[in-house]
């Protein structure tokens, strides 16, 4: 399982952002892998990659690429 590091401001290694935070892309990683690394239950969240929905059925086959922008959301209290 790949590790996930926060990026420093000066590095030039491949990276992506998740919920606005920059992370190093250390090796091949799918959306499924990312959720496991982040400790999130895939059944309770939804994922958007570069402003397009990633359906749950393709988490395991959707590979992250350098420069990707991901949003992972869930339901919270609201009016």
């Amino acid at each position: 399982m790949p590790i996930l590091r926060r990026m420093s401001d000066t590095t030039t290694e491949p990276s992506f952002t998740v919920n606005g935070e920059s992370r190093a892309l250390a090796g091949a990683m799918t959306v499924s892998d990312l959720l496991v690394v982040l400790g999130l239950d895939g059944r309770k969240v939804a994922v958007e990659r570069n402003e397009a929905i990633v359906p749950r059925s393709v988490y395991g086959t959707t590979w992250l690429a350098a420069g990707d922008s991901l949003e992972i959301v869930h339901f919270i209290g609201g009016g």
């Binding site: 869930h74 919270i76 609201g78 009016g79």
Partner: protein, 269 residues
């Protein structure tokens, strides 16, 4: 049981409302925000008798992935989740948010709100029209928060929105319904459910909305910001029921001057 009383009980049981093919008994929709904690949220919602609850869609807190989640306290199998677009100020943000909500929960019944800037957070109708068109094209069933503008409302209805939800006063203001005359006009012309959404401050406000003929009332802050939210949730439940009964009963005509309730005949002299 007396036949007339029995008939009334049957009528009450059948006094349901329908939106997008789903039928509900409770005419109170409550928000799930602004509570002290999730346990208080759950207790207040239970006390309100609501069958539909609005929920927001937000980024997961990556530094605390195991934090308790709303679903653990408010069961989506027991309550119909109505995802909203609170905080969205453009059509694009609203559409992205609801697409995520549909993926997270599988629901296509949604509450659309596109808001103008603080301090009013007044409905941005241009953005609302754009978002409603995109969402309806994408298969969503849209309950739409809107201005108390009868023309805008009938356009939204013509576009295919499944419920029209004008404000009674600014979101979270608790000012009560400031526009009963406009709401009445909109109720009269609506061919889909019309709900008052935003502005209710206390129980009498909710009752007034129902007496005007609203299909249902949507509120959050009035319960969550009450000193005792669970008690206020009960008050809102009773107020919505009372207002609905009064609307169905048909109020007496107003008259200038008195009309004694006791007979004038047989007075002692």
């Amino acid at each position: 049981m007396d036949q007339a009383v029995g008939d009334q009980v049957v009528m009450d049981a059948e006094d349901r409302w329908t939106v997008a093919g789903r039928s509900f008994r409770s005419r109170l929709i409550v928000g799930t925000g602004k509570y002290k904690d999730l346990a208080e949220t759950a207790a207040a919602i239970e006390a309100s008798g609501a069958e539909i609850v609005t929920v927001a869609v937000r980024r997961v807190n990556l530094s605390d992935p195991k934090a308790p989640m709303l679903q653990d306290f408010v069961d989506p199998k027991k309550y119909t989740y109505l995802p909203n677009t609170a905080g969205c100020h453009t059509a694009n943000e609203a559409v992205r948010t609801l697409r995520l909500a549909r993926e997270a929960g599988g629901w296509n019944l949604v509450k659309l709100e596109v808001l103008g800037p603080p301090p009013h957070l007044y409905p941005d109708m241009q953005g609302t029209f754009e978002a409603a068109a995109a969402l309806i094209k994408d298969g969503f069933e849209v309950m739409v928060y809107c201005a108390d503008d009868p023309l805008a409302a009938s356009r939204l209805e013509d576009m295919g929105c499944v419920a029209i939800m004008p404000l009674g006063a600014p979101i979270g203001s608790g000012l009560g319904l400031q526009n009963p005359a406009m709401l009445s006009l909109m109720i009269e012309q609506a061919k889909v459910p019309l709900l008052v959404d935003a502005g209710v401050g206390t129980a009498s406000d909710a009752a007034i909305g129902m007496e005007l003929g609203c299909t249902a009332v949507l509120l959050n802050s009035a319960i969550a910001h009450a000193k005792n939210p669970v008690l206020m949730a009960r008050a809102m439940k009773a107020a919505v029921e009372a207002g609905r009964l009064a609307f169905r009963a048909g109020r007496m005509a107003r008259r200038m001057g008195a009309d004694p309730s006791s007979p004038l005949a047989g007075l002692i002299r």
